[in-house]
């Protein structure tokens, strides 16, 4: 079941080490994604548009905006993450790259981490960078910003790793859009809950450290356990 070898992949035994292979994979995926920057940055654009629509749609009383700011930010982050998930595996599965990755002798789990990291760089990282702007339009006080950014940072990492599981499981399914959401959402809800809670507490001026610790724990948990699940799911999808 061999297809034409993708020249961007590590081809020689010298690059058999996991870190070299992972780095090569990250570079390749980023290059491909940025070539089609329209598609790739769509989720972030979507996030920005949706979150700025809230102030436009509501009576711009600052107090009400502050109330919905956590929800708006986090639902937006979740949706943006979901939208980009399809790209994670589908194309590579279709053109045979994923099979080559599975067969090339490098630990597959490590490559899954690399792919998930790319997904985060394309969705989570832009979200975190854009968040100060959005928090401002939603009326969040400047003092809340560090906590909000940290929460988004940790939360988006978790969302990427959780989403990757869903993407791997639904890889072989046609028209899997709503199935992907159905699989990912129950698993992502805890992140949503604690992320919104941390944001809410930060905006109100209270200490959000408890929620942030939990978000950190979730990030660590998902980053360590999800690659196994993603690898298993992708291998099942490749059969």
């Amino acid at each position: 079941m061999t297809t034409a070898r993708n020249p961007a992949l590590p081809a020689s035994a010298a690059t058999r080490s996991l870190s070299a292979a992972a780095w090569a994979l990250v570079q390749r995926d980023l290059r491909i994604a940025l070539r089609r920057s329209g598609d790739t940055l769509q989720p972030v654009g979507f996030f920005v548009v949706v979150t700025t629509l809230f102030p436009l749609g509501l009576d711009p009383q600052v107090s009400l905006l502050r109330d919905i700011a956590p929800a708006a930010l986090w639902v937006g982050a979740l949706l943006a993450s979901l939208l980009a998930l399809d790209l994670l595996f589908r194309e590579d599965a279709q053109d045979g790259t994923l099979e080559q990755l599975a067969l090339c002798g490098v630990p597959f789990t490590g490559l899954m981490i690399a792919k998930t990291a790319v997904h985060w760089m394309l969705t989570g990282l832009p979200l975190v960078l854009v968040a100060p702007l959005l928090a401002g339009t939603l009326g969040a006080p400047a003092g809340a910003l560090p906590a909000i950014l940290l929460a988004l940072l940790l939360g988006t990492v978790s969302l990427s790793f959780i989403g990757a599981i869903g993407a791997g499981l639904t890889m072989g399914v046609k028209r899997s859009g709503s199935l992907l959401a159905l699989v990912v959402l129950p698993l992502a809800v805890p992140v949503l809950i604690f992320g919104a809670r941390a944001t809410e507490q930060a905006i109100a001026g209270e200490s959000s450290s408890a929620a942030l610790y939990l978000l950190g724990a979730m990030a660590v948990l998902t980053a360590t356990l999800s690659p196994w699940a993603v690898g298993a799911a992708v291998r099942i999808g490749l059969e």
Partner: protein, 265 residues
């Protein structure tokens, strides 16, 4: 020794036969225990000091919630066994669980709402236990949806096994949510370390219902598992003999429907 037992159960014809024989042994005790629990709970248990007669919902709510959690654990464990050892029987067991689990999770949530309205004044509150139980319902539904998305049963088995294993983390969250957080829902009174914190006359019917529901689950699950196993084994030789045995004798041209005593359930 345990491995021998596991391997025997892993044999599809063995499981199919034994499951057929076991079902009545679970079904009748389930009926009797639930009947006894209902009578004990509705008639003999005294009214609660604070909640009056309303607390009697516990005899439906608690067993349903217990079933929702236990079913998921059974599903996740058998899915893991099926994934690791590639056993069709284990996958068949896992496949039989989600509809049972989802329906009883819904019952637990609905009866919980009916109980919460008079006691707490509200049908719903986003507290940790209710939220995580609702998540469990979504997990069941996404498991069912994922399964049906695959045409090939073997791939469906393996993919949904991964999902079941990932989702099992919700179960301890549900159970411990009332301990870890300030929840509106009361703390565990039966499944805890130390003695139960509930009066014996109220406790015994509850225990009967819990055991009765568990037997009910076993009976229903084994029935479904037999069906799932048939679907996975395609045209294996043992199916011929098994189907003949289901009909109570050698096949007579496939005209008779299943009527024998073996199918009393």
């Amino acid at each position: 020794m345990a491995w021998v037992w596991l391997h025997r159960f892993g044999s599809p014809p063995y499981f199919y036969r034994v499951a057929r024989r076991l079902v009545p042994w679970f079904a009748w005790p389930a009926l009797l225990l639930c009947l006894g629990g209902l009578i004990g709970g509705l008639v003999f248990a005294p009214p609660d000091f604070r909640q009056g007669e309303g607390f009697r919902i516990i005899y439906v709510h608690a067993p349903a919630a217990w079933l929702s959690l236990m079913t998921y654990v059974v599903m996740a464990l058998s899915a893991a066994v099926g994934l690791i050892w590639r056993m069709n029987v284990a996958h068949a067991v896992a496949a039989s669980c989600p509809k049972i689990g989802a329906s009883f999770t819904a019952v637990a949530l609905a009866t919980g709402m009916l109980w919460g309205r008079p006691m707490w004044g509200t049908f719903w509150v986003w507290d940790p236990r209710l939220t995580s139980e609702l998540l469990l319902l979504f997990l069941y539904l996404s498991y069912i949806a994922l399964r049906s998305a695959f045409d090939d049963v073997a791939r469906a088995d393996r993919a949904s096994a991964v999902l079941a294993i990932v989702g099992v983390i919700d179960v301890p969250i549900i159970h411990y949510s009332v301990i870890w957080w300030n929840s509106l829902h009361q703390a565990p009174s039966v499944l805890r370390f130390g003695a139960p914190t509930i009066a014996p006359s109220m406790l015994y019917p509850l225990l009967m219902m819990l055991v009765g529901f568990t037997c009910f689950f076993a009976a229903v699950m084994l029935t479904r598992a037999r069906a799932e196993l048939l679907r996975r084994e395609r045209t294996a030789q043992w199916i011929v003999e098994a189907l003949d045995a289901d009909q109570g004798g050698p096949s007579r041209g496939g005209g008779r429907t299943e009527q024998s005593a073996a199918s009393a359930w």
